[in-house]
Structures are given as structure tokens and as C-alpha cells.
């Protein structure tokens, strides 16, 4: 029982501008946060809702690889001196923290990870929040390739970010199911867990009914667009 407005960015885009953030935060936030907030801002604008009324669900399988690389590189030196900004930016909920600051929103937020099932997990969490708390939810997902030397250990060809604003309504029915996931249409996004939402975005973009199955631990999340 959800209806949605959506935005997404494939990796051809360089670091996007995030007008929502004040200049200092805009400079300091990590690339993955910039991506997430750029699409989030776009989705919220097109929804017409006030950002302060939205609870936020952030998902990412892999977080920000640039920060992990810098932190681990620094930690491997004798001085082990890490950047304090890198450290507070390394939390999985950095994007929601920056969002709340930029949007001046005290609304609840969460940050989730379920590896390849991260997007569907976020959608399930959002659906339960909508059902129980009866308020709209901003769902944002981002995964970017890891830099070397981490890259071979989690191969992701292209970055991807998407955001949806979901409201109580009659647009989508969510259920748990035991069948196979719908395969994502673009091979370019192989390895990118956030891009698992592409079949859903495609269904939302087209008129008419649709049935999409997204990977969840051991089964699928079935999303019926009515």
C-alpha cells in the first residue's frame, strides 16, 4: 500500500551537486553521501512533500569505499593518524545524518545493510514503517565501486544511486515470496546491490500493472504495482 516518486543516477555522472547541504558539509561529505542526497533531494522535490515530514531509510551494501581505503591506509602507517572527518564520515548512517542537517529534519532515520539484498530490505523496512507509523518515508540507496586494492574483493562495475518517496496509498503491494528474483535489465550494473531496484524503477516509470521480485535473504520481496 505505497505510492512513489523516484529518482536515480547511474555512474556516468561525476560527483553530483547537493544544494541541500550548507557549503561546509557539501565539501566534507563523502562521494557516496553526495550521490545519495542528490537523488533524495530530487525525489523529495518531485513528491511535493515537506522533507521534515519524512522518515528516512538509507541502504547500502558496501558503504563508502574511498573512506575505508583512506582509513585503512592511514591505520597501516606507524603513526596510524586518521582524519577525524573521515572517521565521522565512515559511519553507515552518514547520509542520513547529513540529510537531517541539510533538510532541518528531526524525523527518525535508519541505515541498513543486507549485502545483495540491501535494497529489498530497505523497501520492506519502509513498508513496515508506513504501515505502523503511518507517515511517508524517503528510501535512498547507493553503492559505488570500491577503489583498489579493495576493488577485486567486491567487484562493482558502475555506481548507482536511487531514491523513492513512499506514502501511504494504493500504489504498491509488498509481500514475501519464495520464488526467483526478477533479473535486473542492465548488465552494466552487475555487482551493484543498490541497482537491484532497477526492475522496480522501470515498472514505476511505465504505465499499467507490474509484478517485480527483488532479492531478499533466502527468498524474494514481491512488489505488485496496481
Amino acid at each position: 500500500m505505497l505510492s512513489g516518486a523516484a529518482a536515480f543516477e547511474p555512474s556516468a555522472v561525476q560527483r553530483p551537486a547537493v544544494s541541500l547541504l550548507p557549503p561546509a558539509e557539501r565539501r566534507r561529505c563523502a562521494p557516496s553521501v553526495a550521490w545519495a542526497l542528490a537523488v533524495a533531494q530530487e525525489a523529495v522535490q518531485s513528491s511535493g512533500l515537506d522533507a521534515g515530514t519524512l522518515s528516512v531509510v538509507f541502504v547500502s551494501s558496501d558503504g563508502d569505499g574511498d573512506i575505508v581505503h583512506r582509513l585503512c591506509s592511514a591505520l597501516a602507517t606507524p603513526a596510524a593518524a586518521v582524519s577525524p572527518t573521515d572517521f565521522h564520515n565512515s559511519v553507515h548512517n552518514a547520509a542520513t545524518g547529513y540529510w537531517s542537517i541539510g533538510a532541518h529534519s528531526p524525523a527518525a532515520s535508519t541505515a541498513l545493510c543486507a549485502y545483495d539484498a540491501s535494497f529489498a530490505t530497505g523497501l520492506l523496512e519502509a513498508a513496515c514503517q508506513i504501515a505502523i507509523e503511518k507517515r511517508p518515508v524517503l528510501l535512498m540507496a547507493v553503492d559505488l565501486p570500491y577503489p583498489p586494492p579493495l576493488a577485486p574483493h567486491r567487484p562493482v562495475r558502475h555506481g548507482f544511486a536511487a531514491a523513492l518517496v513512499l506514502e501511504p496509498g494504493t500504489g504498491l503491494e509488498i509481500s514475501l515470496d519464495g520464488s526467483e528474483p526478477t533479473a535486473p535489465p542492465m548488465r552494466d550494473f552487475e555487482g551493484n546491490a543498490s541497482a537491484a531496484c532497477v526492475p522496480l524503477l522501470a515498472a514505476l516509470a511505465r504505465p499499467g500493472e507490474a509484478l517485480v521480485r527483488l532479492p531478499l535473504a533466502g527468498r524474494v520481496l514481491q512488489v505488485r504495482k496496481i
Binding site: C72, A81, H88, G97, A107, C113, A131, I132, R219
Partner: protein, 389 residues
């Protein structure tokens, strides 16, 4: 909200393995912090370290998961008959109707940190990094789910220090929405270089055992811990009565000075529980012993509760267990409720003038019917939980 029964729980911290070890330590006022002896031990700090993890590698079918964080999870799950409690729930509801929702801030990243010291001449990492089963945040939940052979929804919540409190809220919603009947909630965080050096770089770490709310406090002591609880549909003698979640919308690593966000989370928790502030018998504060947190939290507590409710921080016992702090301190509340013990704010001797909450410096024996626990994380992520009968 409909109360959610807490039907089993266990924790392993620097105080020892299992809940009896924690209860004994709280009763005796005997903390678990030690002078930093982790890794190269360069930082002058006190830490809450769990003994014996170096001798407890994960072998067999789950050997890919071997890392300090999952070892701590494995040790934690083996206490207090927790696995048997989960098996009973699985038999009652079906494996697909029991979820696993766990918090962590750093998962198995220690393995990657150490691997960076072993890069070859071309800068490559060793092939046995096991990113998916160690570093990745989902690793801890995947591991626990497989150890417990559960098949319901599973996710890691990673919102820094509020992680393993927020899992209670998600579990309550999933159960209320009817997609599950029970959940294993909790969290695990283990000592690693990122947090040790990271918090130090922000000058948030004390070179003495932390002393929350104390006039002479100098910052936090980091600890590691595992904690788990089984929650089920339907009220019981020990239940989650309410939860509240909010954001500070202020700064990434400093709390809102007037405690507005914290106040919002606590008020929501009381509202969901259908309780007035005066009905809370004990508050387990987030109480990290940083100057900023304790001051901001005190403001929020006084605004909501006045100066009447007994408050303590138990981070002097266990250290700040980060992604596991929510569950560890929920369990302190469980023990308070079950044993009528309000624990002291260990290591603290003189409350900072100007802080007005009734901060306990000695243990107190009293009937506790309702307790509230606070967990506040980086990014201004706030979560408050109310437990009781």
C-alpha cells in the same frame, strides 16, 4: 503500541560471559575496563576487552566468517541457553517467521585493517580478505542467522551507537505488521583500529576509565560486546513497552547542546508506552562521559523527568560498546527490572555542578517496574526504549 515480550536474553562483555557475570559485576561494583593492551597498544586509553577471543577461531562450515566480531558473536550466542530458546521459538512459529535484526558499527573491519599491513609490493591485499563474510556490515547478521538456522527477514542496522537499540523498534513493527512472530535482536561490536584511532582523532577518548557525568570526566572508554534478545508477539513479564526514534539535525559528531533530539526520542517512547515520565523508575543513560554528551543528555533528562528519576550510566563497567551499546544497556535494564538493582555510575565520584539529574553514584536496591534506556549515535541518531512489565 502492543507490548512485545522479551523471552530470552544474553550478553557477553568485559564483565564476562553471560548475564550472571554482568549481574555479579553490577552488584559488586566491579568494572571490566583495563589499560589498553589491544594490538600495538599505542593509545593511552582504557578499554572493555572480552577475554579469550584470540583462542576461539570459527571453524567448520562457517570458517569463512572467522573474524573477531563473529567470534564474539559465537561466544555470546553460546551463553544462557540462548540457542535453545531460539530453537523453541523456531519450532513454535517456523523458521521463516523468526527474523534476525542486529546492530554493528564496524563488523569485521579489523580483518581488513590488518590486511592493509600485509599488502604486497604492488599494493594488493591478501586473497583471503573474505570481504563479504568479515568486513561487510551484513556479515554479523548472516553469521548469526546461519548459526541459529533461521530463515526470516534479516538485516544489519548500522546507525553508530544507536544501532542495537533501533533493532527493537524495527522488530516491533515487523511483528505488528504480521510478517514475523518473533525476532532475534541485538548487536555485536569488537575492538578495532578504526574506532580506537578514530575516536582518539576526535579527542573523545579519556586516558582514564570513563566517569560519566563527573566534573572531572575526560571522555569515553571503548568496549566490545555481544548481546542478544528474543522478542515475541504478546506481552510477558518483561516486555518492550515503547520506542522512540529521532534525529538531532545538528552535527555529525557533536550532540545538540539543548538535548532537543534526545528529548524527542524519549518523549516518543513514553507516548508509545502510554506512560507519564513519573512512571519510569530508572533511566540507563547513554552517558558516554564526553563533556558534550553528558551535558546535553542531562538537559534532556531534566526537561522530561525533572530531577526525580534515578539515572545512571553503566559505561564505566563495560566501556562504550558502540553498535552493541543499545542491547548491552537494554540488558542492564532487564537485570534492573528482574532483580530490583539500580546500578551505580561506576568510576564517577562528583557530579559536574550544573548537571541536575539524579545520577546514582552508589547502587540502589528498589523495585523497578519500568525502565528507560537511551542510545545516541553519530549523525544525531537517537533511540530510546522503555521496558517493563
Amino acid at each position: 503500541m502492543n507490548p512485545l515480550g522479551v523471552t530470552a536474553y544474553t550478553t557477553t562483555t568485559a564483565l564476562g560471559r553471560g548475564k550472571a557475570a554482568m549481574l555479579e559485576a553490577l552488584r559488586r561494583g566491579k568494572g571490566g575496563l583495563r589499560a589498553n593492551d589491544f594490538d600495538r597498544a599505542e593509545l593511552r586509553a582504557w578499554i572493555g576487552r572480552v577475554a579469550g577471543l584470540e583462542e576461539a577461531p570459527i571453524g567448520g562450515a562457517l570458517a569463512e566468517f572467522d573474524c573477531r566480531n563473529n567470534r564474539l558473536a559465537s561466544v555470546g550466542l553460546g551463553q544462557d541457553g540462548f540457542k535453545e530458546s531460539v530453537s523453541r521459538a523456531k519450532a513454535k512459529y517456523g523458521a521463516r517467521r523468526v527474523a534476525v535484526l542486529l546492530g554493528t558499527s564496524t563488523s569485521g573491519i579489523l580483518r581488513t585493517e590488518l590486511a592493509y599491513r600485509q599488502r604486497d609490493a604492488q599494493g594488493n591485499l591478501p586473497p583471503d580478505l573474505h570481504y563479504r563474510h568479515a568486513q561487510n556490515l551484513y556479515s554479523i547478521t548472516d553469521f548469526v542467522r546461519q548459526v541459529l538456522a533461521l530463515e526470516g527477514p534479516a538485516m544489519t542496522v548500522s546507525t553508530a551507537c544507536s544501532s542495537s537499540a533501533k533493532v527493537f523498534a524495527s522488530a516491533a513493527r515487523y511483528i505488528e505488521a504480521g510478517i514475523i512472530d518473533a525476532a532475534v535482536v541485538g548487536g555485536v561490536d569488537s575492538l578495532c583500529l578504526t574506532t580506537m584511532h578514530g575516536f582518539s582523532s576526535l579527542q573523545l577518548v579519556s586516558d582514564e576509565p570513563c566517569r560519566p557525568f563527573d566534573a572531572a570526566r575526560k571522555g569515553m572508554s571503548i568496549g566490545e560486546a555481544a548481546g542478544f534478545a528474543l522478542v515475541e508477539r504478546g506481552a510477558g513479564p518483561l516486555s518492550l513497552l515503547g520506542y522512540g526514534e529521532s534525529s538531532d539535525a545538528y552535527h555529525m559528531s557533536t550532540p545538540q547542546p539543548d538535548g532537543e533530539g534526545a528529548l524527542g526520542a524519549m518523549q516518543q517512547a513514553l507516548t508509545r508506552a502510554g506512560l507519564e515520565p513519573g512512571e519510569i523508575d530508572y533511566v540507563n543513560a547513554h552517558g558516554t562521559a564526553t563533556p558534550a554528551n553528558d551535558r546535553a543528555e542531562d538537559r534532556a533528562l531534566v526537561r522530561l523527568f525533572g530531577k526525580r528519576v534515578p539515572v545512571s550510566s553503566t559505561k564505566g563497567f563495560t566501556g562504550h560498546t558502540l553498535g552493541a551499546a543499545g542491547i548491552v544497556e537494554a540488558i542492564v535494564c532487564f537485570l534492573a527490572l528482574e532483580h530490583g538493582l539500580l546500578p551505580a555510575t561506576l568510576n564517577s565520584t562528583a557530579i559536574e555542578p550544573g548537571l541536575e539529574s539524579m545520577v546514582l553514584l552508589e547502587n540502589r536496591a528498589a523495585k523497578v517496574r519500568r525502565a528507560l534506556s537511551n542510545s545516541f549515535g553519530f549523525g544525531g541518531s537517537n533511540c530510546s526504549l522503555v521496558f517493563g512489565e
